[in-house]
């Protein structure tokens, strides 16, 4: 059964004003449990609005959202419980830190869920380990940490709620290359270990190509496609026209095949490009 399902999901901003805008336009989507999904789209494509529907922060103007088989907004009292199933990490999540200590800040979400002290403690230790926050840091103020550490504490705060679906909006933005790789690697580890569904929203097609098993493309408020990376990058030209930056390596091999080199397959990671080039060389 699909963990996330939308039926004809539509959201309109500023209905009845001159600023009216359809932000999400009849999206039908089914995401299976355990998938690692990359979500891409130009700024204003509707991807942020879409993900805010998945944990009930926004109420659809029209259409339905199902999480784990249960319809959101059908019973408003259930909303908060369903919300706990979908963890949403916003862009620059370090701006939401507020507690006196790192430990307490990670505990905020689990506490709101009404879990026992022991369970909260177990979860904090487990998620802190997963995001590489040492226990020595637990009693420090989150505001004393480095930028990368703050970011990871904030992500841990949502992971500790153990949501069935974890959605991260640009978790690596503003970090240096090493920080990017570290955080994305940890998210991948989390996915491997927990077997939960992960949605990674990113402008970086390189990052999405490296980690995602499926890619969701939003364009002009509509779901453009939801498919495997191979099939998505096969449409590199269309993606470029939408203002998305296709990985450099994909562009290189697109151009090579346009020049008459029989590349054969879609290339979207450096390692794959290397293996493919070696194969092509040995076939010559």
């Amino acid at each position: 059964m699909a963990i996330i399902k939308t039926e004809n999901l539509t959201y309109v901003y500023g209905e009845g004003t001159p600023f009216r805008k359809v932000a999400v336009d009849s999206v039908n989507l089914e995401i299976e449990e355990g998938e690692f999904v990359g979500v891409i789209g130009h700024t204003g494509s509707g991807k942020s609005t879409l993900i805010q529907h998945l944990n009930g922060l926004l109420k659809p103007t029209d259409g339905k959202v199902f999480i784990d088989g249960e319809q959101l907004w059908e019973d408003k009292k259930r909303l908060r419980d369903i919300r706990f199933k979908v963890g949403l990490v916003f862009q620059y999540p370090e701006y939401q830190l507020f507690e006196e200590t790192v430990y307490k800040d990670i505990a905020f979400g689990p506490k709101n869920m009404g879990l026992s002290e022991d369970e909260i403690d177990r979860r904090i230790r487990e998620t802190a380990r997963m995001v590489g926050i040492r226990e020595e840091l637990f009693d420090k103020s989150p505001f004393e940490l480095s930028g990368g550490q703050k970011r990871r504490v904030a992500i841990a705060g949502v992971m500790a709620m153990e949501p069935k679906v974890l959605i991260l909006d640009e978790p690596a933005s503003g970090l240096d290359p090493k920080g990017r790789d570290k955080i994305l690697g940890q998210i991948r580890e989390y996915h491997k270990e927990k077997k939960n569904t992960v949605l990674l929203v990113s402008h970086s097609m390189e990052d999405v190509a490296k980690h995602a098993g499926r890619i969701l493309v939003m364009n002009k408020s509509k779901l453009y496609m939801y498919d495997t990376p191979v099939n998505v990058f096969a449409k590199a030209d269309e993606l470029s026209n939408m203002g998305l930056s296709v990985p450099q390596i994909t562009r290189v091999f697109k151009r090579l095949s346009a020049m008459g080199v029989n590349v054969g397959e879609e290339v979207y990671t450096v390692y794959f490009a290397k293996d493919l080039t070696m194969k092509l060389l040995s076939n010559k």
Binding site: L57, L88, V89, Y95, Q96, F98, N112, V158, M161
Partner: protein, 267 residues
Amino acid sequence: MLKDITIGQFFPGNSVVHRLDSRVKIIITIAFIVMLFLPNSFYGLGIGMVFVLGAFLLSRIPFKMMLKSLKPLIPILLFTGILNLFFISTGDVLFEWKLIKITTGGATTAAFMIIRIIGLIIGSSLLTYTTSPIALTDAIERLLSPLKKIKLPVHELAMMMTIALRFIPTLIEETDKIMSAQKARGADLETGSLIQRAKALVPILIPLFVSSFRRAEDLALAMECRCYHGGEGRTRLKQLKTAPRDYIALFVTAGFIALTVLADKML
């Protein structure tokens, strides 16, 4: 929603009202307030309203905007109206039922107050609709500049006002974002007792403060990099220069005040 508030917004334009010197506009607005509170008759008040509506027409601001700015104040209008209607008991009795008594005096005062408040809102919105916040603070700075002699930090105050105006939309957006983020972590902002709700604001207020301080620090640095060193020796892009139209406007305003007083006395 916070975003729908139109009071204090600026609608760029090129009408006569837009082009008036901002100092003159402030003076006229003050004069108009006098016009509203001076008269004791509907004739005098009517002349004031004609004045402001005329100015509104000249400004070519859509009439809808004016209605929109009045809408959030309807409760206040009703409240003042009802208060005056029921608690002033001069003149003839119009209606009486048990403890409730409505008199002609009450009705007139209520009508007066409502018209005055509406006039006040239209007048002040017109000022902000047609004057950029910077021109406005600039004008305040210059009108107050004689006070520099008594060591009032006029430039600094005006600068603070400008920056506050600049960052209000940014901080509103930021508050929205932080609220969503904490809601996603299960924060419950909508239910519970008053104390519980106040407590629930902590996860929103602390990040908001932290981020405001960070922004302030960044902004101070950026201002320093652009050679900011206080008000001394500063020039302005937009010079405030009075043109003939400004004198005409002041003249017309003075005429309207005189008319108001006369109407009040004669009729």
